[in-house]
């Protein structure tokens, strides 16, 4: 019964989305308030029905209703409840439903929180959003319906891939989708602006919170995925340049460029067409990612089971939305009025450089990801593009970006003085040199790459701190005045501080983890102890344990340093009989500066077990830095300037005054 309701709700959502796609657009063209008024209730209704469908599916998983083919294929009655629920999005059909759920959620959010938007813009934005909804709801109902029945219903299900049964994974896809799909709103705003033929600073201010929210979610989602890979896959790797990873990284790179470009539009009314193009490209890259994962064109550890029919359908959707948007862009963008002038050496100039480098970086990742496919199509040659390619092309592009990130905030708008800005960065120069020298001294000349990495991180962090100190006039007055200034600093500035500082921490983490990881692979017996990086790991015992749906070899290890016990570690190697698969339970001990990482492998046949022990210095900083970046985005999101909302009239006047004062 619940399943039928869910199925029917999807159909209803499709009908409402179809209406929402057409009526408000017509209304905006004719300036008909009644037609435009359809947009908001339709968006809310669309969300309501998609939510009903989504929770109906979740209910089927929760009660292990195996009459649904989707549940039978991806769940099992022995699973703990959490993994029954997260199994909803572990497969193609369920994750598409999650996708559409989040799309409708964002549509409803725009409907609810857009009091200050002119009705025509809002109508157009919601209409375009509904168009996207129509396409994907059709896709689900026609090719990927999670509510298909299995008759007769099997007694139990096929279960969930053991690797996916993890608490961290529960939040990774929803977070990622919040990011991917959130950029659809920026896309909708861009299309609406093209239809209207006008981009003004107000548009940029309205777009920014949605872009920021999506960017935050995507940053968090990517970091979570990376962290999950690190502690699940059993070898300490956290980024593999796998096509599906790249598919999430590209929208992040372009989304970051969009965030920065929108600032220029807001402040200086320049670079409008480029910002519109970025908004279109960001979401198009999300759509491209959807295509790559689900169509089977690329091999990837992440890919869902491929189906050429679905591939064709998604390609059709991609062509409609991206192709349509780009054609609209080619037609209307030339008519968007140009904006203010600025000198190359200025904050705008730095942001232009930021965009150039980020766009090139994203294009590089795109090139590497798509090249095998395109070369095969054109020349019937098969090549692989793996991490060595990206190390040699992506890294050299990011280095100048990181250097410029330090200088950019130091430059004023319109026209800046580079020597003066560099002069204010004396502290940063010192920090950079110090970091490089200390690293070389401590670890020897072979760590040249590592010294560069840490020097870069120090440069960025020191420059970001310098910028903050200048804003707070840290050394120029009494502490209470500084404190007051800190409290009154616009949240967007704090956001930038945390985001840039977080990036520096991430760079340091990446450097440490790639340069100084130590490894020990041995065949170990209970009673033996092993040395790694100054620690001693004593293997006490290996026992067989049983979980709710698995059996495992569990090792009891003690981590010691200088004879003193620090922690106990219990790596496991689990076997899941239903799925006939294995998974590793890695044991990690972290002191937030480095990780000790232990994995137990297969028995070697003579009473010992394969043990893999790693010492990963600075790896925790990758996740901490990413968290800081997301936090920065979140802080920026709460900036009062974004909430020029209810109550509309009074707040708008005072907000405008505050914005003018801050500039």
């Amino acid at each position: 019964m619940v399943n039928e309701i869910g199925h029917f709700a999807l159909v209803l959502a499709l009908c409402i989305a179809a209406l929402q796609a057409v009526l408000p657009l017509v209304g905006a063209a004719r300036n008909d308030a009644a037609l435009m008024g359809w947009a908001r209730p339709a968006a809310l209704a669309q969300f309501l029905f998609v939510a009903i469908a989504f929770f109906a599916l979740m209910h089927a998983y929760a009660v292990s209703d195996f009459s649904l083919a989707n549940v039978a294929a991806n769940s099992n009655s022995m699973k703990p409840l959490l993994y029954k629920l997260t199994g909803v999005w572990s497969n193609h059909e369920g994750s598409m439903l999650l996708w559409v759920f989040i799309l409708a959620l964002f549509g409803a959010a725009v409907a609810l929180f857009s009091h200050n938007l002119p009705p025509q813009l809002r109508a157009r934005v919601l209409a375009v959003q509904a168009m996207i909804g129509v396409g994907f709801l059709l896709f689900i109902l026609l090719t990927s319906n999670p509510f298909l029945r299995l008759v007769p219903a099997p007694a139990d299900g096929a279960g969930l891939n053991p690797i996916l049964q993890d608490r961290g994974l529960a939040f990774h896809p929803p977070c990622l989708y919040l990011g991917y799909v959130g950029f659809s709103i920026s896309f909708c705003f861009a299309i609406a602006a093209l239809i209207e033929g006008r981009v003004d600073p107000a548009w940029a201010r309205w777009v920014r919170p949605w872009t920021l929210a999506a960017w935050c979610a995507l940053t968090t989602g990517i970091a979570m995925g990376s962290w999950w890979a690190y502690y699940t896959l059993g070898w300490g790797g956290w980024w593999f340049w796998d096509p599906v990873e790249n598919a999430s990284f590209m929208p992040w790179l372009v989304g970051t460029a969009l965030l920065h470009s929108a600032v220029v539009v807001e402040k200086r009314e320049a670079r409008k067409t480029w910002t519109i193009l970025l908004a279109i490209i960001t979401f198009s890259l999300s759509l491209l990612g959807t295509f790559l994962v689900r169509s089977g064109v690329l091999t990837s550890v992440h890919a869902f089971a491929s189906d050429p029919l679905r591939g064709v359908f998604i390609l059709l959707l991609l062509s409609c939305y991206t192709g349509g948007a780009l054609i609209l862009f080619a037609w209307r963008a030339p008519q968007l009025a140009g904006g203010g002038l600025f000198a190359p050496i200025s904050r705008e100039g730095a942001l232009v450089l930021n965009n150039l480098l980020l766009a090139t970086a994203a294009a590089t990742v795109l090139l590497g990801t798509l090249y095998p496919l395109l070369l095969d199509v054109v020349a019937h040659q098969k090549v692989s593009v793996g991490p060595p390619f990206y190390s040699m092309t992506f890294v050299p592009i990011m280095i100048p970006l990181l250097v410029a990130m330090a200088v950019g905030p130091m430059l004023p708008w319109k026209r800046g003085d580079l020597p003066a800005a560099l002069g204010r960065l004396k502290f940063a120069f010192l920090a950079t040199a110090a970091a490089a020298l200390v690293t070389l001294a401590a670890t020897g000349a072979r760590s040249l790459g590592a010294a560069c990495g840490l020097a870069l991180a120090a440069w960025l962090l020191a420059a970001t701190l310098t910028e903050l100190a200048e804003r707070l006039r840290l050394f120029a007055g009494p502490l209470p005045a500084v404190w007051r200034r800190a409290l009154n600093l616009p949240r967007a500035s704090w956001g930038m501080f945390f985001a840039h500082a977080g990036m520096a921490v991430v760079i340091a983490g990446i450097t440490g983890s790639t340069a100084w990881t130590e490894e020990k692979i041995v065949s170990g017996r209970p009673g033996q102890a092993f040395e790694i990086a100054g620690y001693t790991i004593a293997l006490d015992r290996v026992s067989e344990v049983a979980g709710p749906d698995y059996t495992a070899s569990r090792a009891d290890m003690r981590l010691l340093r200088d004879g003193r016990g620090i922690a106990e570690m219990h790596p496991e190697k689990r076997f899941y009989p239903v799925e006939n698969g294995a998974a590793t339970g890695v044991a990690i001990h972290t002191n937030l500066l480095s990780d000790v990482y232990a994995v137990i492998g297969d028995p070697d046949g003579t009473g010992g077990y394969v043990l893999r022990l790693y010492y990963n210095p600075l790896v925790p900083w990758i996740w901490l830095g990413a968290a800081a970046m997301a936090l920065g985005g979140l802080i920026s999101l709460t900036d009062r300037r974004h909430r020029i909302g209810a109550p509309a009239r009074r707040a708008r006047a005072s907000a405008t005054a505050r914005v003018q004062a801050a500039e």
Partner: protein
């Protein structure tokens, strides 16, 4: 000309060693220097039956066989390049995680730099064009009028 640049970039990348993850204790060579070379080579070779993993990262049988083969060739005295060429001769370009530099991959290796340069050139032309559209300088009469308007005490 490109080759030295690529070699330099490869050196930078190679300065960052990476641990290998599916290597078994019984595979590892006794000599740590040779084992390190085996890891370098392993990082360049793709496990063909896996999804985008190097042979060092994969648990597959074929990956294991190739790891053993790599170590045998290194012990027999082959250089890293020779070992990679040995495997490439049997499995084709697909087994290389670092795409070879040849006609078919010129666009791949040259692409990033090309995009950067094209982007820079486009920007330069765009902004130079903008300068041409900038307002022409004021004439003497216009400047006097401007001074008069500004000088009446009104502050903006």
């Amino acid at each position: 000309m490109i080759r030295p640049l690529l070699l330099a970039l490869a050196l930078v990348a190679a300065l960052l060693p990476v641990p290998a993850h599916a290597v078994r204790p019984d595979e590892m060579l006794a000599d740590p220097g040779l084992e390190a070379r085996a890891r370098e080579v392993g990082r360049e070779l793709r496990c063909l039956v896996c999804r985008n993993q190097s042979i060092d990262d994969s648990d597959a049988d074929l990956a294991h066989d190739l790891r053993v083969l790599v170590r045998e060739r290194i012990k027999a005295g082959d250089s890293n390049d020779q070992v990679v060429a040995y495997v490439r001769a049997r499995y084709g370009d697909f087994v290389l995680l670092r795409p070879p530099l040849e006609i078919g991959t010129l666009l791949l290796w040259g692409g990033p730099l090309l995009i950067l340069v094209l982007g820079g050139v486009a920007l330069a032309r765009f902004y130079r064009g903008k300068d041409e559209n900038a307002a022409p300088p004021l004439s003497v009469e216009e400047r006097r009028r401007l001074a008069a308007i500004l000088g009446d005490g009104t502050r903006r």
